[in-house]
Assembly symmetry: C2
Homo-oligomer: 452 residues x 2
């Protein structure tokens, strides 16, 4: 029998011990911050009914859904006149965490205490063409507060971003906009129905530049005058207060626009009161592709590493409307775990020793010696020190190599002389320092290995 | 537009905040024990190539695989003469963690330091008929050491089981058998080629009783004499040493059987040396359905709650052979998270307050008051106390209700008088005790809420 080397589907990944420890470090940090603000974790199934998923991500999104073949004989009783795919698949893999969250809120509304502060860290699947940095399976990490219109919620999310990146040791800056201001712009330039077109065009400012954005606006049907009216807004300079003041004059004719500016002003007041450390700046070119945002819009970028946004989100007033629950406003942000991983790797900002799981390797000098160190190892584990005993009495070189490859910083070699004297010998593999301890003297052993 | 109430596919589940906190408590406990023994976490993709999965779980298993429709136009260029399903699906959802682990070891063998001690906690999917306690998506939690034949590995797994259930506060007992002993039985009764049939029959002893097992053995072709010869073995009584001694006499003619008894004896010696607290008992009727075990076999049951086995596993000598890597012996156990959840629920053994994420709710008395408590809340979070501020200045009753429903034990109401005096008032909602603190006196506040 010829057995080919096994592989995994394109666009998917295995995570080995070191990558996994690093990813867990990121998720644990984020999770601890979410919890410190009273957010609760939920999980939804990997499979959703296609009726839940379809039509929520546009035509392009529908095509990128992974569909699951019905179980049993999926191809029995097919009507050849109708499209086959929709007859043989009723379920699909979740495409993001937002739609399942909306579905969860509607389905469980009777059990939920609103405002509902939840977070969710789970993989999502998209049948995108795999390419560098784009995967068909990747984790999303979303935090949302739903059921309150108060900008205290926005403020909390800004604080969360501040705390997360502070803990991770990554310098970031946050850009903030408000969708109502964008609507106001569309109103004052005389094309209130073109807000989506204008928003989409503005969103490209960073990528294609001012002239191309202006061309795109014209191509979408805006008049020369309208585009000219919008231009000063796109090139607005100055501090946040200055920007708001300038905009107030421009926006005087738009109630919605002024409301957006009021919201921005209130939010910046809260951010100041909360003592947020990261720089937060109004950026009217920030629109983000998704067009369900109705209020604040956020985007976070790393300051010392070149990569796209590593976190973003905003307020939506009608997330659950698609499932029949109206007037449920919420706000959320999503942390891009893969990009944050790349940033921490690039900045060498992961803590040392994440990959190694044990502090001490007890070398195996034979069955009797192994039995001698077993209770010592058990006691150290009780003290919170992860340790392991090499399972076989192999050559010492092999055992040292194992410690080296796993990044275990200490080795203990206990032979007959240690057994007779009831001692334990421990060596620091990086400094070469070696010490002998009474086998019951856990405190001294813990102190010695904690010094590493 | 009529919008139907959203639902999830049958056999799947949503996990809300309380269930999630309880599940995390179980997984975190298990994970911390795995790590204390030097095991590293890995993750593999939800989707595997069907060529990896097919033929590994028997015909029945193949039918229970969830298949994923190829992306793009899956139904273009179909040959109607051939089965359709295999032409339109190349990927499937993982059915367990064992086959992906074997695939991982073979694919990454060059990067792995053996013995490789890994654990994996991920969902698996099976198109089983959903019924009470059986789901189409459920988590498996596997720990394995691969690349060593030493029974130090078995011992470590027994210690892990001991520590996990000790930490969870669940009294359990472990049954241990050895597959070589079962092979020895088949040899001594004269039907060495019937070891699988005998094993499968013996496995049913608990369920169908001795007489039915004997009937089944006869139906499988064993002679009356062979069945009679096996009977005393099935009804063996006494302690572990006694059982081994009795078996040694019976097994004198089988080298394999004697080797199995040697292994059992060595393992019980190690278990004693390691100071394992849970009772471990030889049970020769323990066979488990899977027939890839080649040495030790384990099963764990709760003593104070009626449910099937909550953990089990064994040694396999040829896990990676299916992918072309020979002579890679390993041993592992799997923890049944759903059943452990049921046991902890039934015994009311979950710690208190798992569902509540915050310690203090700061009531919202208005924008100015909220701004006043923001820095206090931030400082408490830095001290490790999760707290939240109610986002809206709603009626106090509503805010109290929110604290109550979320299980938040303390509420702080700070109005103008507190702001003027720079104090913070905190009330214990269960005792009614109320105290006032200087707003910067974090230590006293932390002590007060830690007393809960």
């Amino acid at each position: 029998m010829v057995i080919s080397k096994p592989s995994i589907p394109k666009g998917t990944r295995d995570f080995g011990p070191v990558e996994m420890a690093r990813r867990n470090y990121i998720f644990d940090t984020i999770r601890s911050v979410f919890k410190s603000f009273g957010y609760s974790q939920i999980e939804t199934p990997a499979m959703e009914n296609l009726s839940t998923l379809m039509g929520k991500y546009g035509d392009e999104g529908d095509k990128l859904l992974f569909r699951i073949l019905n179980s049993g004989d999926a191809f029995a009783d097919i009507d050849p006149e109708k499209p086959i795919a929709s007859q043989v698949c009723e379920k699909g893999l979740r495409y993001d965490l937002t739609v399942p969250f909306a579905r969860f809120v509607v389905q469980h509304q009777a059990e939920i205490s609103f405002p509902f502060k939840r977070f969710q860290i789970q993989p999502v699947w998209r049948a995108d063409r795999p390419q560098k940095g784009r995967y068909r399976e990747f984790y999303q990490c979303d935090v949302d507060a739903i059921g309150s219109k108060s900008q205290m919620c926005e403020t909390e999310l800004v604080q969360i971003v501040d705390n997360v990146f502070g803990k991770l040791g990554v310098r970031v800056a946050m850009k903030i906009n408000n969708r109502k201001v964008l609507s106001g712009l569309a109103e004052i330039c005389g094309f209130p129905d073109k807000v989506v077109d204008i928003t989409v065009a503005i969103d490209k400012l960073d990528k294609i530049g001012l002239d191309a954005v202006k061309e795109e606006m014209k191509a979408k049907g805006l008049s020369e005058e309208a585009v000219a009216m919008l231009e000063p807004v796109l090139t607005l300079e100055g501090g946040n207060e200055e920007k708001i003041a300038t905009m107030r004059t421009l926006m005087a004719g738009s109630e919605t626009g002024l409301q957006g500016l009021d919201e921005l002003e209130e939010l910046f007041g809260f951010i100041k009161a909360a003592g947020v450390a990261i720089p937060c700046e109004i950026d009217l070119s920030l629109a983000r592709g998704l067009n369900y945002y109705t209020g604040a819009i956020f985007e976070v970028k790393a300051l010392d590493f070149e990569i796209g946004s590593i976190c973003g989100g905003g307020r939506y007033d009608n997330l659950t409307g698609i499932f029949g629950l109206k007037d449920m406003s919420g706000v959320g942000v999503s942390f891009g775990a893969d990009r944050i991983y790349d940033v921490l790797t690039g900045l060498e900002a992961f803590p040392d020793g994440l990959g190694s799981s044990s502090k001490i390797l007890f070398a195996n000098m034979g069955a009797g010696e192994a039995a001698y160190v077993m209770p010592v190892a058990s006691e150290l584990r009780k003290q919170g020190i992860p340790v392991e005993i090499y399972p076989e009495s192999s050559k010492l070189k092999k055992q040292f190599d194992y410690a080296d490859r796993k990044g275990i910083p200490f080795i203990s070699i206990c032979g007959t002389s240690e057994m007779e004297a009831s001692t334990v010998q421990i060596k620091n593999l990086s400094t070469g320092e070696q010490k002998s301890f009474a086998s019951g003297d856990m405190k001294s052993i813990c102190d010695f290995v904690a010094g590493n």
